[in-house]
């Protein structure tokens, strides 16, 4: 079991959340080239270590937030709300 610190609801079981994936900057769809868009969609760092990633609190406040998580130990470090 892993606890995730929702900035609005506090620490909750990871089962309440949906994993969104590594945080990235979404290119502007109006100006992005196909190559940029596909790289944004498909290519991620997949590090063995700390990663910044987004979660969605589906069974709670239904808001998105960002955490830092270690992909080997699953230790979670920070939480920040996302607008």
């Amino acid at each position: 079991m892993m606890l995730l610190p929702c900035p609005w609801c506090g620490a909750r079981d990871a089962g309440e959340f949906r994993y969104v994936g590594e945080s990235g900057t979404r290119p502007d769809p109006a100006t992005a080239t196909r190559d940029q868009w596909r790289r944004y969609l498909y290519f991620h760092a997949n590090p063995r270590g700390w990663v910044r990633e987004d979660w969605y609190h589906g069974a709670g406040c239904r808001r998105y937030f960002t955490v830092g998580r270690h992909t080997v130990t699953n230790e979670v470090r920070t939480a920040r709300g996302r607008s």
Binding site: G21, E22, R39, Y42, F43, H44, R48, T71, T73, N74
Partner: protein, 417 residues
């Protein structure tokens, strides 16, 4: 040269009581190899075997950081089948099943391939529709695959609850008679032994920590114990760890690593002689020759390199299996484990050359790559020798993601196997 296994050698060893020779020899590392394969799973070992057996390329090293088969190849649920959804996929996996059918004879190693039939259950209209589609694609490719109704399902697997009063009634199934299970460790050991016999060096306990590139070409690899091995061709066959290896040469890959868990029960008398899969319930079940039931599910819900088992898995798999076969409620789960899966966006592998000359990948095996070991080894050996991918893997190149030519196996791979 290791001794050939035969009825005669069995009797001779039985009478003399001599030890069997180890299946692998230990070698000193050479300064350089024609081909260095990173990863001693079924993919790396099969590639080494076909390089030596089909092309006479014997100056090959397989570098494995732990022991051979310590990755996904020793942790999977060993289901083999070829009833995929895309023509590219069906052709490819079918070649693998064909190679598996003759593998024991080819490798002189009993891999215990049991073609007991594979059953994918449909619990709703959309699964039935996808299955009809799959059946037609399969038939067009000459693969034995058909839809059957609940009465026929009940005859094949009497213990399945085919009543229509369950939460997810069984409406039909995709039946694939050539599918089945294999002894996964035997496949790993068989390829390793046959590659070793042809002169391939298999170095266990040898971790690759760097790859040297000069002028856009691979020139060597570096190992954790401070050695450098010169080579002009490196194959990344490390499945769940594959982005870490590609990062060493700056090749980005659309791969995310997810744990996948499996579990096994105490052994009982044989009662289940087909492989049963339910995509809707995210569960698959088969019975081993020893009588244990092997359970699998879908990948953990978030990316990770952790191989810890979870209570959520045990709870989920037990609940789902009981929906399918309520009679199993008294059985005990003996143990559970996890392995790492390299997931791609389209559930198809990534195979072939990369922008770095001499750096090849055979990755993206997700939850379904064990069955592809033989065909991948054959195709990657061809690709390395001829410098370009053979037809059978042409659709699986790394460039498909930026070119927008995905090979969507998603519909067929909800539970992977």
């Amino acid at each position: 040269m290791p001794t050939r296994y035969s009825a005669w050698s069995l009797i001779r060893h039985g009478v003399s009581g001599d030890d069997w020779p180890p299946i692998l020899r230990q070698h000193d590392r050479r300064e350089s190899y024609d081909v260095v394969i990173v990863g001693g799973g079924v993919h790396g070992l099969a590639t080494a075997y076909y390089l030596a057996a089909d092309y006479g390329v014997r100056n090959v090293a397989v570098l494995e950081k732990s022991y051979i088969g310590s990755g996904g190849s020793g942790r999977n649920t060993a289901i083999l089948r070829s009833n995929y959804l895309t023509p590219e996929g069906v052709r490819f996996y079918d070649r693998s099943v064909k190679l598996y059918e003759h593998l024991a004879a080819e490798l002189n190693f009993n891999v215990m391939f049991s073609q007991r039939g594979h059953l994918t259950l449909a619990h709703n209209d959309s699964s039935l529709r996808t299955m009809r589609w799959r059946t037609e694609v399969n038939k067009l490719q000459g693969v034995d695959s058909d839809m059957i109704d609940p009465d026929e399902i009940k005859k094949l697997v009497p213990y399945l609850d085919t009543s229509n009063t369950t939460r997810y009634p069984i409406l039909g199934a995709l039946y694939h008679p050539p599918g089945g299970i294999v002894r996964h460790d035997a496949v790993v050991w068989g390829y390793a032994r046959a590659a070793d016999a042809r002169g391939v060096h298999i170095h266990q306990g040898t971790e690759v920590v760097g790859i040297d590139v000069d002028g856009g070409r691979v020139t060597g690899v570096r190992t954790a114990d401070g050695h450098r091995i010169a080579t002009g061709a490196v194959l990344n066959a490390t499945a769940g760890w594959s982005t870490l290896i590609s990062d060493m040469v700056g090749v980005r890959m659309p791969v995310q690593t997810f744990p996948l868990q499996a579990g096994v029960t105490e052994p009982v008398r044989p009662f289940l002689d087909t492989v049963v899969v339910s995509g809707t319930l995210h569960v698959y079940v088969s019975q081993t020759d020893r009588g244990e039931l092997v359970f699998g599910a879908s990948v953990d819900p978030y990316a990770s390199y952790s191989t810890r088992g979870s209570l959520e898995f045990a709870e989920g798999v037990a609940g789902h299996v009981l929906q399918l076969m309520p009679a199993l409620s008294k059985m005990r789960l003996l143990r559970q484990w996890a392995g790492l899966c390299d997931m791609t966006p389209d559930f198809s592998p990534i195979m072939g050359p990369t922008p770095v000359a001499g750096f090849y990948v055979d990755v993206g095996w997700g939850t379904y790559g064990f069955k592809a070991g033989p065909v991948s080894g054959e195709a990657m050996a061809d690709c390395i020798v001829n410098g370009r991918p053979p037809e059978i893997i042409a659709a699986f190149g790394l460039d498909r993601f930026t070119a927008g030519r995905l090979v969507g196996e998603k519909g067929a791979a909800a539970v992977g196997h």
